[in-house]
Symmetry: D2
Subunit: 314 residues, 4 copies
């Protein structure tokens, strides 16, 4: 059975009872800088227990929520680029401390995941289209960047992990920064939330399904992942509406029997009931707004600028 | 409130009680040619009563259902092109009989509706990209074709009807053939059904919303419309699943009270309840499969070939 | 016979003897603002005599030369956008003074000329892709902008002038601003010079040939044209090299006879000799650099930003 | 100094005195099948002497000349696809005989070289966009195909050879088939000649410059290369015209002195004189026709169909 998934740790956290109260093994921190219109959230999954509860691997997930993102306000988008640059540098610094990447002459392989021909999946390829790489030039900067758009399995016949492993072995980067379009639960997140994580890319994440994970374990070097939700799974949207309906019925009908029937259903059984209603085809379908082309175009600039600010300070 | 819409007359018909039984003012004909893998349906809306019942204007809607369409079987796709050409010629012949277009030197303006940058909405523009036009050449063929991709209002600031009216007045075509991506109710129709109608394009149809209609009334010349569903409205998919749930609950719960509550709801009230559950944002969202780029690419060839076969016989 | 053409008035002027000395009916003004890295030139063709000499219609041609344009320096590109905005406003002000456009509620139709599928010809369509139009919104700004990408005749079967005339009649703009990729004589101009003129678009200009002109005479409203050279005609490049060779031979050979032969050739005859050497196919061919995609992408932002700055001051 | 290059062995051969007479170490065979509109030429460079003379590595170069290719005649294009399939199978058979690839379960890595954003350089990427790969499916066919569009160094910062070496090591294909846009000498070859060679891709070939070669030596497995000229180097076109001019002058001027001067110049010195006239910037510039988008689109289908016919016989 397909899962009702979200790629955002912050949404996973919110889905816990009490709107994301205490979960053992998971820490949550929220803040907003003075005069900033960007809300920051850091979800840290600290141990195996937290990972099991969240259905996501151990690591740090930083979320930038910016309601006006990619609406056409360039000053605002630039502010978001700056914040992304700050958070990227913080993660890189932390990797340096842990001796996972070298102090000097950092070589980054930027990876644009997704299908350039499918608008909501084209975020990664479009970011790479804007990104300035410098590995082939004698620039002598402190950071060397190379980049690749590996394509999707339907077009290559290969796993993205295979392609990247080969390129990494051949060109020896120290760090992968992967950019991907994500699936969220809530349509309000579409195009307005950037997630940055040090856990890489995991099976089932992204708009198209990447079967293999892209992580330090699979690729041999640390993987930072930058993602923005551009779609909501069709199953998620149906699921959420039905959950609301069941709640409505339970309160509205106010009959013991009705209450009995639905109360007897544990959350797992309710989930089961809903999933039975969902057509199997829903698993692959996604929901996206009609102006997604403008959103992806603007987001791709905001993200490429963020990477430029972090690693090519003038 | 937004409507749970389908652009396919055949789906509208199916939604009537008794799976599309007799409706006054609407005639239905289904057939399949010998050895053909294409199912043909003709829905004719004969009068105002039929139009009101169907929520679509009077006219003829021919549907070609081809389950294997755009899956990569070129012979099959070619068969569909041939059938589309036959149906196009039949409609043109009928327009000639009604003296709506001239006997000789027919000049067709082909129009590719939709946004070329949004994959499921790019069908019309891609068909025009494949189409051979000949108006600017001294070919002396019997049919003259010109073509335009007018763009969408968010990019032009103009109604498509305004752009077309101007071009028609200036270049004097006899007939518009408009190609558009449609919204269906059922995900099984995505990429597998072609609708051809002599009623033109109507408000609310297509993947993006065209506010004004493109019809003989608005443009001054007959408008044939070729459409293929590439999306399902997010609201439709949620609506249908909830309808199933209500049915399930009514039979499963088997309590008088429950039955009472839901039975008391007329179909209109049920619809009302469901619509209240649907978030207003759903109205603009659509559901589409991840391999829509290949589907649209193949469909655009099948349709442009159909037009070539109909009007450029070698 | 094809002509060795340039779309830049400033190059036409330079080609006169004495590197563009005095020409009756043509005035020239060059300036550079303090601290600016942009060189400005204004060629004004004042009367019929000047028009004949220059092979271009009467009017004003402002050239912005910016050697570092579209090389990746965003600050520099922004400076050029600002200068373009200034010059646009100056031309609009002058049209207002001449009562050619209204004082208030100016409605501009922006036109992106060229073929979006051919990289060096895609400048106009890409500018329109970046441009914010507002005619369809109730914004109440002082300037209303609509936009169209009319396509090229090989794709539409229609003259661009026909398409625009129809749209203008239907939507009633006061002014056309047309953006087009130009052909220069010198490869040093590729991507580094912006020409703004109040004379519109003329036959034979642009990368693809527009057969009909887009001018006040043909469209009924004033036409400002913004162009940047992205190609050099193959014939021009051959012609110029051969001219150099003839010069070289005449000085190197230093023989009376040789001198006699070439001296006997008038400039017209020399031109004739060269044109005989050029293959007829050269007429349609153009020369362009391999990184033209990046150049066109960056230029399209610089120009759309210039238009935004001129007409949407925040 | 840049070279006046052609990627076509058949043009290199023609440039020899006597229009490609006997050259030691090079064999030439021309044929045309009955009723076929395709002219076939095989240039075999047999030894080091031939390689030096031709400036191309030892191996077989098969050229299909098809004057009407990609003009819109689908039957003709299909005939060319069939011929390409035949020649591909012949080369694969020969590799099998030489035990360079296995008898069974051949795994091919198809590579689309070039920049997808630059129209004349987009042939390889567009072929890959049409190509059906099957490595990720449990099809059990006799031939397994995977595919990659590696991008160009300006976008990746990596040599194409590095990217491919890594992918080959990781996924273990037996054979590379690389598709690339080529540079020809003659504009008559643009879009009308397909070259198939077993020598791979060499430095300086292709529309963009690939610095490293893609050959059996560099990649470890045999490399078949399919190429079609879509550009002529700007230097080549100037060079050829000036050569004609010098010939004209020598015969026309008919003076001893003039003859003396030019006669004294050896072919090498003449070449030297011409190269001095060519501006250094010419080296990177190319000449291409304005309808190159349609040509590349059609060619990409012809080539992908040829590969399908060769390896996916139904």
């Amino acid at each position: 059975m397909f899962e009702i998934r979200t790629d955002l740790a912050v949404e996973e956290k919110e889905s816990f009872p009490g709107n994301g109260g205490e979960v053992t093994g998971v820490s949550l921190r929220e803040w907003r800088k003075a005069f900033s219109r960007i809300k920051l959230t850091e979800v840290a999954i600290l141990d195996e227990q937290g990972a099991r509860a969240m259905g996501k691997p151990e690591g740090v997930y930083v979320t930038m929520e910016a309601k006006e993102l990619s609406k056409g306000d360039e000053g605002y988008d630039r502010e978001v680029s700056g914040e992304l640059a700050m958070q990227l540098k913080r993660m890189v610094k932390s990797l340096r401390k842990q001796k996972q990447i070298p102090e000097e002459n950092l070589h980054i392989l930027a990876v644009g995941l997704g299908n350039p021909s499918v608008t909501p999946d084209a975020l990664g390829p479009q970011v790479l289209g804007n990104l300035r790489v410098n590995r082939h030039m004698q620039e002598g900067g402190k950071v060397i960047i190379s980049g690749i758009v590996p394509g999707v399995m339907a077009q290559t016949g290969m796993e993205t992990a295979e392609i990247l492993k080969g390129i990494i072995r051949e060109t020896g980067p120290d760090l992968v920064i992967a950019v991907d379009a994500l699936a969220a639960r809530s349509i309000r997140r579409l195009g307005t939330t950037i997630q940055l994580t040090n856990t890489g890319i995991h099976p089932g994440s992204g708009v198209g399904n990447h079967r293999h994970s892209l992580t330090r374990e699979s690729l041999g070097i640390p993987v930072l992942a930058i993602g923005v939700p551009t779609v909501v799974g069709a199953a998620a949207i149906v699921h959420d509406t039905i959950s609301t309906l069941i709640g409505t019925l339970m309160s509205q009908v106010e009959t013991e029997k009705m209450g009995d029937f639905l109360d007897q259903l544990s959350p797992e059984e309710q989930y089961q009931l809903i999933c039975e209603l969902l057509e199997p085809e829903f698993g692959a379908l996604y929901v996206t707004p009609p102006d997604i082309d403008q959103t992806v175009k603007r987001l791709s600039f905001t993200i490429s600028e963020g990477i430029h600010m972090a690693f090519y300070p003038d």
